[in-house]
Structure formats: structure tokens, C-alpha cells
Amino acid sequence: MEKKSKTASRIKMVVFMFSITFVFVVVLSFVHLYTKSMITRNETLFLKRSVLYTAGVQIPAGDEELDNYFSENVIETVENGSLPRYRFKNGPTVVYTINGTGLWGVIIAHAGFDTQTGKMTGIDFIKQSETPGLGARISEDWFREQFRGKKGPFTYVPEGENDGENQFDAITGATVTTKAVKEIVNKAAEINNTTGKSGL
């Protein structure tokens, strides 16, 4: 008798767990499907904004205008498996997508260059998982802005001491991340020097 009721309660447990999981998964799937297009759209808008920011272009306010501006002025190319590049039709600017390795994992950056002068137009980090408050500060404005108008090869100096066009401020307490950024910008500068002027 006791054994039977134990089995019954076991079955009830499993059935209960199963049904409640089922209900929640169904609800969540609906919400997911409903918002899916919105999320993908946000993702593309984010990338486009980032490219324009990196190129030092005024970012159009509305989403539509952003799309229009982008399709009129920017050519995106993906060369045999490499990361996408964005070339501006009426100007010397090219934005490269560069991979680097930070403390915790991959850092993906957009690095923009003026191909005539070899100077950077800007940098933006589209994916990074560095420590919040330390390495993650590479996404802050003061860090990103300091690259505009500078020329590689880069070296870093202690926070707040950079002067000269191939130095940038390191982040205190995040040496590994700073090194990763150095590699990224130097890699980008090299690519720009070799392939930037000759077209894509």
C-alpha cells in the first residue's frame, strides 16, 4: 500500500513538473517569436550606429534615416570568410571589424581609418566580456574617443598621460584588456596600411 502511494506521488511529481515546464516554455516561445524580428532589427541598427560612430560621422536620429544613410553611403563587403568591412562611398574612410583576445574572451571591435592619411577615425567595441568596472571600461567614451585622429603603431601609457599621436591611455587594473586593445588597433592599422588604399 505504502509503496503504491509512493509511486503515485512520484508520478504526480513528474507529471506536475513536466506540465508546468511545458506551459512556461510555450508562453516563452510565443513571446520569443513575437519579439524576434524586433531583436534582430535592434542588432542591425546597433551595428550600423557603431560603424557610423567609428567613422566619425554624425549618426542620423531616426531609425529610417539611419537605414537610408547607410544604404546610400556605405558599402559592406565580406571577403572570403573574413569579418565585414565598411567603405564609405564619398570619402576615404574604411571601417574594419577586428577580432582580439581579452582577459575573458573574444573582443570584437570596429576600427575606422582615413585611408589617405592613415589616421584613425574612431573605434568601437561591439562585443566584449571584460570585467565590469575594469576591462569593460573600454566601452566608455573617454577611452574610445582618445583614438580619433591618431596613427599607429600604438603604445599605451598610464591612465591620463597620453600625448602624441601614437599613444593611448591604458586602463588602470586592466592590463590584459589594454594589451588586447593595443593588438587590435595595431592589427587594424596594419591591415589599413597594406590594403586600405588599394581598395577592398
Binding site: T21, F24, V25, L28, H32, T101, L103, W104, G105, V106, S129, T131, G173, T175, V176, K179
Partner: protein, 197 residues
């Protein structure tokens, strides 16, 4: 995949410089509650190492071989939580049957672990950081070891503190947090040791 970071580098970073407890505050609840005696801290620590490593492995496999092929990434949280809860339950049952001593040493800590943020945290971070399988194993193991070092060290300090005079308002949680803060600063000092380059 971020194959650029060495497995050993990840392990070291997870134990010291980016200790999951001292820099991410994960697993604080049990950290404050169980860090009164070195012995219990050690027991809980070992249980965390074991569960964290195992669940990182399982969750990695589940994510890349089950969720990703079917586009179900958004269910990740639910699935991970269930995997962890189920794993802990199963381990508890097995330990109970197999070894009495192991059960009294580890078993009592297992229910605590399901709600330990650090376990889920390790699984989530390894997915978000795109770790490969080997990296995930070393990350899970490293985080567990780091967590244990932190809680055992804390328990050691707190045992000494039993005879110290602490301002009234700081007794208990307050002083533990200050110790944790100082430990966190000390662990940051390890940064120079890993020249990952």
C-alpha cells in the same frame, strides 16, 4: 571561438584575478552564512568545485548540441537551472546510497548549492564568453577552486576574529564584507602574474 586564450590562463584568471566571488559577488549568500568555520567552509567548497565543474561540462554540451541546433538559445536559463537542480538531486541520491561518510561530509551542502548563484553564473559566463569545451572545463574548475579558496580564507580570518573586539554595528555581516573587500583588493594584486599578452 576564442581559442586564443590558453586553458591554463583561464584557470588562473578564474582562481585569482577574476575570482567569481570577489569580483562578481556570485555566491555571496552561502559565502556569508557558511564561512564561520574552516571545516564547513572546506566541505561546501569541495561540493561547489565538484558541482560547478560537472554542470559547466553538462551545460556546455546541452547548449551546443541541443539548444543551438534548434535555435532555442532563449531557453538557456530554464534549461541550465533544471540541469543544475537535477544534477544536484541525482548526486545527492547516489552519495546517500554509496558512502555514508561522504554523505555526511558533502551531502548536507548539496541542497544549498542549487541556489548558489556562482554555479549558474559559471555556466552563463562560459556561454557568453564563447568558450570552447576545454576552456569551459578549466573555467568551471577554476571558478570552483577560486570560490573555495575565498571561502576557506574567509572562514580562517573569521575564526580569528571571534576573539577580536569589533564595533557593534559591524558584527556579523558588516565585518565579513570589509574582509571580503580587502581580500578582493589582495586578489587584484595577482593581475601581474598572468602575462597573457
Amino acid at each position: 571561438m576564442s581559442s586564443g586564450i590558453g586553458v591554463f590562463g583561464i584557470f588562473f584568471a578564474a582562481v585569482f584575478t577574476s575570482n567569481i566571488l570577489l569580483t562578481m559577488y556570485l555566491g555571496m549568500c552561502s559565502f556569508l552564512a557558511v564561512s564561520r568555520h574552516v571545516k564547513t567552509a572546506f566541505g561546501l567548497g569541495s561540493a561547489v568545485i565538484f558541482v560547478m565543474t560537472a554542470t559547466s561540462v553538462i551545460n556546455w554540451l546541452v547548449y551546443y548540441y541541443l539548444l543551438k541546433p534548434f535555435g532555442l538559445e532563449y531557453l538557456m536559463y530554464i534549461v541550465f537551472i533544471i540541469v543544475i537542480a537535477a544534477f544536484v538531486q541525482i548526486v545527492e541520491m547516489i552519495i546517500e546510497r554509496v558512502s555514508e561518510t561522504l554523505y555526511t561530509a558533502l551531502g548536507i551542502f548539496l541542497p544549498l548549492i542549487t541556489v548558489n548563484c556562482a554555479i549558474l553564473g559559471a555556466s552563463l559566463f562560459m556561454i557568453i564568453r564563447n568558450y570552447t569545451f576545454a576552456q569551459s572545463v578549466s573555467y568551471g574548475l577554476g571558478s570552483g577552486v577560486g570560490w573555495m579558496i575565498a571561502i576557506v580564507a574567509m572562514a580562517g580570518i573569521r575564526e580569528k576574529l571571534a576573539n577580536a573586539r569589533i564595533p557593534k554595528g559591524l558584527e556579523g555581516a558588516g565585518i565579513s564584507l570589509i574582509i571580503a573587500g580587502i581580500m578582493s583588493m589582495a586578489f587584484m594584486g595577482f593581475t601581474g602574474m598572468i602575462g597573457l599578452g
